[in-house]
Symmetry: C2
Subunit: 463 residues, 2 copies
């Protein structure tokens, strides 16, 4: 067999340089694109052939189609004008780490299948414990440990399953609690794990979990013969970055024998700055914690960190050892096999990109990055507050500002629509109870004061 | 704030070219490394500092540590001497597609968050239906549809949850069936989804599901008041690539009202060649199907394809729509939102690399690739069979050959140990019942007849 069907090493080098330049050009010119794609449903699909090619096609053709067919259908999450949802950071060192990991192409399911993939992961998740001021017991040198997963949805599912297994009672007698501002992944994870009772607990005027309502719900469920099993605490909710009271909720959870899971998917990155850590005071009492360096820590998706205070219940819930995965290292107990820390068996070498990021920026660089976005958000909030056309609808402890037009829902919806259809920025319209509001999330890798000034001008003009 | 903390565009270009060359050099020189890493537990970890750097570090230092600390801990899955587990293919076009996707850094959770990411995915999963000869009803133009997930474990979990929701009976009354050769992800998925009854069904002399034993188990469960709900059929088991009888099992499933899920994680790629499709005859009767282009179709991990014959029960089980994800396109019903097709919310633009691969190789190139590996495996099986020191322990319909030393378990285990400790190849020792056996999986991207000749010489010398 002739292996001319593979790309030759020289060709890979040449094409690789070309692709790197393509990415560099894209990121340099990203402000020239409309932030939100203008294509209509079906347009991209219609431009592509209905069948795969039978024979090989030149790489130039693929690149041409990438530019001509795919790019118009891209919404530019890496734009500095990206204020929608939450940021999905990327950075030079992260992309280089991703490339190296893809090139190595190892499967880190077991220590034995590539020891460095496991040990570097252990090192960086332990580093992050110190960087974020998390309880030192969460290091793998303590009773706990961290693992890299794909998304906070995956982590929350693992937490729910571990709690369910710990509870050792029929699932339909177990109850899950979370505030009405909790991310949808909690409800989805609970459904997947088979919980039939999920209580949506009222929030206070700040959109934080109402402890009295939580306690009432627990009491009512106990009276009905049910078993409170799990409570989710959010540090930085999706709608407004509200902060649930961690210590008080965890205290209730401890008293009630419930699993306490903290979702800091977005705000966790901010904890690299000590001044934000008071928002999650009480972590010494919780069972699990999840946050996404792929949101606001310069590391491209996917990179979610999941920590447990005690790794034993996690391993009890997740370990299965078939004969073809048996090996000396695993049987010795001297090593970590991360496949036992989550649902999937296979896993990419994701720690490499996080390691590249931490070393390129250093802790101080990431702190500067986070603090600047928070400063810009506070600044924007001040301008909105000082203008009587607008009102803030929620506290803004991090990089998200949520506001509305004082003329009401229709004016607010129109403003969001005009901002987004301008092609110049992307924001997220949302509902808080009956009120329409606009989320402005400041955290894109290259968003600066100039960009936020432009946004502010647009808001003023369109209002 | 000065943004000198980010890597400049010029620096990214320069470092990017350097990293591409690093990957190209690695792949060109890969045969110089011992295939299996020789490090001891803790060695890599001990060579890394206990804390993250406070300030930035030069990229040269990171690259130096990559070479000096990480590389000795790498087990080389991309080596042409890799015969362990199953292949984890990579290729030039796939790496370039991965790089482009990382550079774009879009989140394809909804159609609206980057239409091209959704529509290209739809196009390539539909292309694959034709390429693999799957039922045309599985295209998104039919009643079914495909989606890219991380791993077969994730797909199998989704199938189990969908079946559980469809059954609409208490989970502890539902029963899951699979052969005793089924991948561990079935048991793990069942545990996560909360099933308490998982039956491991006896296999025949060819390690394929014994239909009589399946029917007996179903009858016994019905008699005990339980509800048969799910059966997994494997096309190409992990231990020996055994093939369960798809049509007969699916016929039983249809009669019993059970969900029938096909796991073709490894062998699915072979179906691009029509001559292998008889192994999965009966797909017109099944509910779901999973296979991994990231194993044996030149696409680097992660890239798993999951198909359903009817997308409605899947969407019913997986959809949750919070206010911050509401948007016109979703509400119109004109678009696909892939977040409703699996557990996680966030998702990478994984279709890009599969598209690059399909266009670079064309269907014919992939067929040549698969056929050559199967030919090499048949060739090796013939040599083993002709040598009275060895015996084959299972049929070898694809690229995997499983054999043992006729002197017994100890001789077989020693042979595997010597092969692996030579540093020149990697194989997987396993157990089939009480018998030790050696799995030789031929499917690495650049494995040629010369490599398999070398392996055969080593086996002969060490036996």
């Amino acid at each position: 067999m002739s292996y001319d069907l593979h790309m030759s090493p020289d060709d890979f080098r040449r094409r690789g340089h070309q692709m790197v330049d393509w990415v560099a050009d894209y990121l340099e010119n990203i402000e020239q694109y409309p932030v939100i794609s203008q294509v209509k449903p079906g347009e991209v699909r219609a431009a592509l052939p209905a069948a795969a090619p039978e024979g090989p096609e030149p790489f130039e053709t693929v690149l041409r189609d990438l530019d001509e067919i795919i790019m118009p259908g891209i919404t530019h999450w890496q734009s500095p004008h990206w204020y929608a949802y939450f940021p999905a950071n990327s950075s030079g060192p992260s992309l280089l780490g991703e490339l190296a990991a893809a090139g190595l192409g190892v499967q880190g399911m077991l220590w034995a299948t590539s020891p460095a993939a496991t040990e570097l992961e252990t090192v960086v998740v332990d580093w992050m414990v110190d960087l974020l001021g998390l309880p030192t017991e969460w290091k793998t040198t303590g009773r706990g440990g961290g693992v890299i997963q794909m998304s906070a949805s995956d982590s929350t599912l693992v937490a729910l399953v571990t709690a369910r297994e710990q509870a050792a009672a029929p699932t339909d007698t177990l109850v899950v609690y979370a505030s009405d501002q909790t991310h949808s992944s909690l409800e989805k994870g609970a459904r997947i794990a088979g919980f039939s009772h999920v209580r949506s607990i009222r929030t206070d005027a700040q959109f934080a979990l109402d402890l009295a309502a939580l306690q009432q719900a627990i009491t009512a469920d106990r009276d009905a013969g049910l078993i409170p099993a799990f409570v989710a605490v959010t540090v930085g909710t999706t709608a407004t970055t509200a902060v649930d009271p961690v210590r008080q909720t965890a205290t209730i959870a401890t008293r009630e024998g419930m699993w306490c899971h903290v979702d800091a998917a977005y705000a966790g990155s901010a904890m690299i700055c000590p001044e934000f850590r008071h928002h999650q005071d009480g972590l010494d009492l919780v069972d699990s914690y999840t946050f996404n360096p792929h949101k606001w820590m310069l590391t491209n998706f996917d990179c979610n960190l999941y920590y447990v205070a005690d790794r034993r219940p996690l391993l009890d819930a997740m370990s299965i050892l078939p004969p073809y995965l048996r090996n000396e290292a695993t049987l010795s107990g001297d090593v970590i096999d991360y496949r036992d820390w989550h649902v999937p068996l296979g896993r990419r070498f994701r720690s490499l990109k996080l390691w590249f990021v931490l070393r390129h920026y250093g802790a101080e660089g990431i702190r500067r990055f986070i603090r600047e976005h928070v400063r810009l958000a506070q600044d924007l909030a001040g301008r909105l507050e000082a203008d009587d056309r607008f009102e803030l609808v929620a506290p803004h402890p991090f990089g998200l500002v949520v506001f509305r037009h004082t003329d009401g829902n229709e004016a607010t919806a129109q403003l969001a629509k005009h901002l987004n259809s301008s092609g110049r920025v992307a924001v997220t319209p949302t509902m808080l109870g009956d009120a329409t509001a606009i989320r402005v999330s400041i955290g894109s890798t290259r968003t600066t004061a100039d960009h936020v000034d432009q946004l502010w001008s647009m808001i003023g003009e369109l209002a």
